[in-house]
Symmetry: C2
Subunit: 170 residues, 2 copies
Amino acid sequence: MIILGIDPGSRITGYGLVEQRGNRLLHIDNGAITTRRGDDLALRLKTIHDELCRVIERYAPVALAVEQIFVAKNALSALKLGHARGVALLAGVNAGLPIAEYTALQVKGAVVGYGRASKDQVQQMVRTLMKLPEIAQEDASDALAVAICHAHSHGLSQRLQSAVRPRPHP
Amino acid sequence: MIILGIDPGSRITGYGLVEQRGNRLLHIDNGAITTRRGDDLALRLKTIHDELCRVIERYAPVALAVEQIFVAKNALSALKLGHARGVALLAGVNAGLPIAEYTALQVKGAVVGYGRASKDQVQQMVRTLMKLPEIAQEDASDALAVAICHAHSHGLSQRLQSAVRPRPHP
């Protein structure tokens, strides 16, 4: 079961793919979609959307996980982020993927075990969990983190379901 | 030459189509894409994108015009607006349409002749120019306004080009 995590941004959109095999979590791929500064907004959005469609087609993930946004530096940066996030979510929903959103607190909690962990701690832990030779590009690492968070949350909900399922009497 | 104006919003996205025939400007269609409040964000974005793709396919406009955003009430509303605006621009760029952005000042100036005109004045003027039986739905009217603005600006640049074109000596 492959999960796609995305960290959208108008300049750089990170993506990360993890596979849940039983209790194990494997790294599949990660990368960063960089848009050209000179390109106009619409072209940059097309690049983000097209590249994500390609990633989805290549790896056929079963779910898309993305960080939930509550705050932004200011309205203009929120607007820019919104554009990128909108086309990223569209790529997922057009491929029929369920979309899960997690708060930064949930992501950090799932990856480091501590919701107030620093950015460095999260990146180091992503590297360790994914057995990467070095820390992934920042946005790609964040994308892997939210994918790991979804895998944990999904695994937990499955275990909870099987725990409450009535067992046949002996 | 048909121009598509769009006024994106996460709940309601207005669209308006005007045709420039010589010096005349004709109303083709206008409407509002309303997303269901209960639907999650990704589904709402899909609705906006799909409906706009349908409008583009039906009327084959040659350009997309949209209002340029500088301010927003707050970061959260900017983020929501950004999502809708992102997928709206994507629908245009995927159809190969050039995208033109105009400030509110430019739109009001083009429609009413006065950049500080009120919302009511703009709506009344859109109704008059388009010969509509009544004022269009608010977002659809705003979408028509930006399409009218593009038609004016485009017509002006064409007239300027022909004015500076060297004429053959008699």
